[in-house]
Amino acid sequence: MHVTLTINDTKHSLDLDPRTTLLDAIRSHAGLTGTKKGCDHGQCGACTVMVNGRRINSCLSLAVMHDGDAVTTIEGLGTPEALSPLQAAFLETDGFQCGYCTPGQICSATAMLEEIRAGWPSHVSETLDGPALPTEAEIAERMSGNLCRCSAYPNIVAAIRLAAAEREDAA
C-alpha cells in the first residue's frame, strides 16, 4: 500500500506491506533508526514518537493509519551539534546508561511537557482543572510508560525538571 508520511519535515512516499507498523516504517523504510523497538507491543515506550504533536507508541499503530500525518522522531528534535534542551539536559544529568530507551524517553518528555503546559491532569494531579506543574511526582507518573531497565529514572526526572525550569526562565 502507498503511504505518505512527513517525518521531521521531510516527505516520505513509501510502498508498504499493510502489516508494517509505523515504527517499522520509520526504522526500516524511512531509514531513521533512532526510534527503538523494545517490545513491539506498546509495553515499553522505546518507540515513542510524536504524531501531529502528540506522543504515541509507534509500534502500536500501523503505518497505513498515518497517511498524511506529520511525525517527529528523535532525529528531528536535535543533532549532536545542536541538541534540543531536553537532549542537552539528559546529557548533563546522565539521564541514561545504555541509551536504548533514551530516544523514546526524550520524545515522550518533549510531548509530556506540552501536556503539562496545556494543563492536562494526571493520576497524581491535585485537581482536574489545573494548573499542572512539572513536579517530580507529576513527571514520574507521566513518564511511567517509558521503561528504562538501566533504571536511570532519578536522572531522567532530573533532566526533565532541568529542561522545564530552563524553559520557564526563558519564558
Binding site: 502489516r19 533508526t33 527503538k36 517490545c39 528534535l77 546508561q97 541509551g99 521503561l147 532519578p154
Partner: protein, 739 residues
C-alpha cells in the same frame, strides 16, 4: 610494545593519584552521549546491509521431546519466504559468560517449552514473522518432564565443591541463646534489557561478520566458532553500542547462530531480531531460589553459627548454578558454619548469570534473616551487623584486601537519619499508611579478568584507545578515555575511545563488575608504557615525568608532546593478567542500603518513599557513571523486592509472563528519591585501586525494603517479590493478633 602486568599482590604506589590532568574520577559526561540522546548511536537491530533478509525464530510448544517434522512446505509457499532452517548446529538457549564453550546445539531436541527449534527466513520482517507463526511442527513428546524445582520427582544434585562445613554447626545451634531458622524464596527472574537480543550476519569471502548484542566479544567469538565449526580468526564481531545486558548477553544466544547459518545458506546478510517474548524466553534467566537460613547468636548478638542452605535449578547437564552463598562465607563471623547447595534439574529455560549472580539473591535473603535476628535480640539492626564483622576471612584466614562494611553502615545510618527509626513495628502511621525504615549490608565479591588494550598517541596531540571492550551502559567509553587522558596529560576532548570490535585487542568484556577495573588497567598499562618512552625522550625517570595539557614537564622544562615524540606517532599495548592476588586476599566491595517505605494499611500497597546507599568500591573512576550504576543496582533491588517474577506454568514450565506488560520491571513512578554516597577508598589489592560498581547495589538492597516493610506494618514476607496479596494476608493476620 606490550606492557604486561600479572596481578599478584598489592600495589601501594597509587600512581594515578600522582597524575596531573585531573580528569579521572570526575563526573565527565559520556563521550558517546550526544549520539545516544539524538538517536545517532547505531545498535545491532539498527544495522542494515544491502540485500539483507530477515529471520524469525520458531518456538517449541512442548517441554521435552524431539521435533519429528517441520511442515515447511506450506510456509515456503507464502510470499517472500525463502527458507526454513533446521540445521543441527542451531543452539537451544544462550551460552554462559567468560567461556568459549558454546551453548548446547541440536535445537530439534527440545528440553524446555519455548525453545527455538528453527528459523524462517523471508524477504521482509513481516513475511518472516507471519510464516514463523504459521509453521506447524510435529513432535515425539517425552511425557513427564519435571519443571518445578520443589517437585518431589525432581532430580537433585549436590555439587561437591559447593558444600562446606566448619566446626559443629548443629551443636552450636543447639547451644545458642537465640536462634533463627527460616525459609526464604526468591523468584525466577529475567535480565530483560531494553534492547532485545539481535544479530546481523554476513559472510564476506569465507569470513563471518557478525553484528550482535553481546557483552563479551572475545569469548563470544570462540563460542560462535565452536558452534559453527569454523576458526575464531574467521569471525569478526561488532558491538559498538549495546542496549543493556545484565548477564543475558554474556554468551551468544540462539539467534546469533541462526543468523550466521542462514546467511551462509542464503548467501545474503540475515538479520534476526528477537521479539520481546523470544528475548525473555530463549536466552537465559536467573534461577529461583529456596533458602534456609539458620543463625545462632549469644546474648550479646554475636553469631556463633551460620547455616545457609539453598535449592536452585537448572536444565539437566548444565554446570552453572546460581552461587547463592558466594558471600555467606565471608560477610559475618561465626565459628560454626554450614553451606549446603542443591541444584534441581528442571525443564525450564536455562539458568545463567543475571546482574550479581549469587549475592543478588543470597545476600538479600541473608540480610532479611539478620533483621529477624536483630528483632529477636531486641538489637538495632545496624549494631548487630557491626558486632559481627570478621577481621580476617572466616574459614581461610586470608586477609581482606580492604574492609569498609563498618564505615558503610555507620555513614549510611548517619546520612539516612536512622536514629529516627522506631524500634518496634506499627509505630508510625500517616493516614492510611504505615511508615517504616529498614536497612541491609551490601556485599559483592570482586575480581579482575584478563584484558588487553591499545593506546596510540598522534603528533597532533590526540590519543586513541582501542579494545574489543563493550559499553552496555556502564560508561566504558567515558572511563577508558578518562584513564588515558589522566595518564597522558590530555584533555578529555583529545582522547577517542573505539570499542566493540573483535579486530581490536581482546578485553575483559562487560560482566561481573570486572569491566572497568580489568580493561581500564590494560589502558593504564599501555599508557604507562607510552609514559616510559616519553620520559626517556625527556631524559628523566618515568615517575618524575609530569604530563599535562599536551605537555611534558620536568625540572622546570616544559615541552610539547609532539616535540618529544621525535616526529613519529607512538603506540603501545597493555595487558592485564590475573595472578595470585585473588588467592592471597579476599577482595570484595562493600556498602549499606537504607530504605523508608509506606505500606497501605487497607490495600497492602507498598511505596518506597526514599532510599540511600553507601558504597565502597575503591577508586571511583567517573563519579557520574558510577552513581548511575549504583542507582541502577538499588532500583533492581526494588524490582526484586516488590515486582519481578518470571512465572513458570506449573504444567509445562513455560514462562507465562514473557513480556514487559506482565513481567514487572520498576517504572519511573516506583522509584523515589535515591541518594548515593561513595566512601573514599583505595584498595591496594585492586589494580588502579579500583573495583566494580555495576552489581553491588542489588546485593542486599531488596532486603532493606523487606525489612522496612516489617518495621512499618509488622508483616514479614519471606517470599519475593512481596506482592500485595502476600502483604495483605500478613496484615489481616497482624490485625487478628492485635485482637
Amino acid at each position: 610494545m606490550t606492557r604486561e602486568m600479572t596481578h599478584d599482590g598489592p600495589d601501594a604506589d597509587h600512581r594515578l593519584d600522582g597524575m596531573a590532568q585531573g580528569v579521572l574520577g570526575r563526573g565527565e559526561p559520556r563521550p558517546e552521549g550526544a549520539l545516544k540522546v539524538t538517536g545517532r548511536a547505531v545498535y545491532t537491530g539498527d544495522q542494515q546491509a544491502p540485500g539483507m533478509v530477515h529471520g524469525a525464530l520458531v518456538r517449541a510448544t512442548i517441554t521435552r521431546g524431539r521435533v519429528t517434522t517441520l511442515n515447511s512446505a506450506t510456509v515456503l509457499e507464502m510470499p517472500g519466504v525463502l527458507a526454513v532452517i533446521d540445521d543441527p548446529r542451531l543452539v537451544r538457549f544462550s551460552g554462559q559468560g567468560a567461556t568459549t564453550k558454546p551453548p548446547k546445539a541440536d535445537a530439534a531436541g527440545v528440553v524446555y517449552h519455548g525453545q527455538p527449534i528453527a528459523l524462517v527466513v523471508a524477504e521482509t520482517l513481516e513475511q518472516a514473522r507471519h510464516a514463523a507463526l504459521r509453521l506447524t511442527v510435529d513432535y515425539a513428546e517425552e511425557p513427564g518432564a519435571v519443571t518445578g524445582p520443589e517437585d518431589p520427582a525432581a532430580e537433585v544434585e549436590l555439587p561437591q565443591k559447593k558444600q562446606s562445613e566448619t566446626g559443629a554447626p548443629d551443636a552450636a545451634l543447639e547451644a545458642a541463646d537465640t536462634v533463627i531458622d527460616r525459609i526464604y524464596r526468591t523468584a525466577s527472574m529475567s535480565s530483560a534489557p531494553m534492547e532485545p537480543h539481535a544479530s546481523l550476519a554476513e559472510w564476506q569471502g569465507g569470513k563471518l561478520v557478525l553484528h550482535s548484542t553481546l557483552q563479551m566479544l572475545a569469548s563470544a567469538q570462540g563460542q560462535v566458532a565452536a558452534a559453527l565449526g569454523i576458526e575464531p580468526e574467521d569471525i569478526r564481531i561488532l558491538a559498538p553500542h549495546v542496549g543493556g545486558g545484565f548477564g543475558s548477553k554474556l554468551g551468544i544466544s540462539p539467534e546469533t547462530v541462526a543468523a550466521a547459518i542462514a546467511a551462509q545458506q542464503m548467501r545474503r546478510p540475515v538479520s534476526v531480531v528477537c521479539t520481546r517474548p523470544q528475548s525473555m524466553e530463549t536466552t537465559s534467566r536467573r534461577s529461583e531460589t529456596l533458602q534456609r537460613i539458620q543463625m545462632g547468636a549469644d546474648d550479646e548478638g554475636r553469631l556463633t553459627m551460620i547455616g545457609h542452605e539453598a535449592l536452585v535449578s537448572n536444565l539437566p547437564g548444565q554446570k552453572f548454578s546460581e552461587p547463592v552463598q558466594q558471600a555467606t562465607h565471608f560477610t559475618y563471623e561465626a565459628a560454626h558454619r554450614r553451606v549446603v547447595h542443591r541444584v534441581a534439574r528442571v525443564h525450564r529455560l536455562v539458568a545463567a548469570s543475571v546482574r550479581a549472580p549469587g549475592e543478588a539473591v543470597g545476600a538479600t535473603a541473608f540480610e532479611c534473616a539478620m533483621d529477624e535476628l536483630a528483632d529477636k535480640l531486641g538489637l538495632c539492626p545496624v549494631a548487630l551487623r557491626l558486632r559481627n564483622i570478621p577481621k580476617v576471612e572466616p574459614g581461610t584466614g586470608r586477609p581482606f584486601s580492604s574492609h569498609k562494611l563498618a564505615e558503610a553502615l555507620t555513614e549510611g545510618a548517619r546520612r539516612f537519619g536512622w536514629e529516627h527509626r522506631h524500634a518496634s513495628p506499627r509505630a508510625r502511621r500517616e493516614g492510611e499508611w504505615w511508615i517504616g525504615m529498614g536497612m541491609s549490608s551490601l556485599v559483592r565479591v570482586n575480581t579482575v579478568m584478563e584484558a588487553k588494550a591499545r593506546v596510540s598517541l598522534s603528533l597532533d596531540g590526540t590519543a586513541l584507545v582501542e579494545t574489543d571492550m563493550t559499553d552496555i551502559g556502564t560508561g566504558s567509553y567515558a572511563i577508558l578515555s578518562q584513564i588515558a587522558a589522566e595518564m597522558l596529560g590530555l584533555p578529555m576532548g583529545s582522547v577517542e575511545t573505539v570499542l566493540g570490535d573483535t579486530d581490536l585487542p581482546a578485553s575483559s568484556g562487560s560482566g561481573g563488575s570486572f569491566g572497568a577495573a580489568s580493561t581500564g588497567s590494560a589502558v593504564y598499562l599501555a599508557c604507562l608504557e607510552l609514559r616510559s618512552r616519553l620520559a626517556e625522550a625527556m631524559g628523566c625517570p618515568e615517575p618524575e615525568l609530569t604530563l599535562k595539557d599536551g605537555h611534558a614537564i620536568h625540572d622546570n622544562r616544559k615541552v610539547p608532546l609532539s616535540t618529544l615524540m621525535g616526529g613519529a606517532a607512538m603506540q603501545a599495548e597493555g595487558h592485564l593478567i590475573p595472578g595470585e592476588a585473588e588467592d592471597k586476599a579476599r577482595q570484595a566491595t562493600w556498602g549499606a542500603a537504607f530504605a523508608e517505605v509506606g505500606v497501605n494499611a487497607i490495600t497492602g500497597e507498598i511505596r518506597v518513599r526514599r532510599m540511600l546507599g553507601t558504597f565502597a568500591i575503591g577508586r571511583v573512576l567517573n563519579a557520574q557513571t558510577a552513581r548511575s550504576q549504583a542507582l541502577g543496582g538499588m532500583i533492581w533491588g526494588i524490582g526484586m523486592a516488590l515486582t519481578e517474577e518470571l512465572v513458570h506454568d506449573a504444567r509445562d514450565g513455560h514462562i507465562v509472563n514473557r513480556d514487559l506488560a506482565e513481567y514487572h520491571v520498576p517504572v519511573n513512578a516506583d522509584v523515589p528519591a535515591l541518594e548515593v554516597h561513595f566512601l573514599e577508598e583505595r584498595d591496594d589489592w585492586a589494580p588502579m585501586q579500583a573495583k566494580g560498581i555495576g552489581e553491588l547495589g542489588i546485593c542486599g538492597a531488596g532486603a532493606a525494603i523487606v525489612n522496612a516493610v516489617h518495621n512499618a506494618c509488622g508483616v514479614r514476607v519471606r517470599s519475593l517479590p512481596m506482592t500485595v496479596d502476600k502483604v495483605l494476608a500478613g496484615l489481616v493476620e497482624a490485625e487478628a493478633d492485635q485482637g
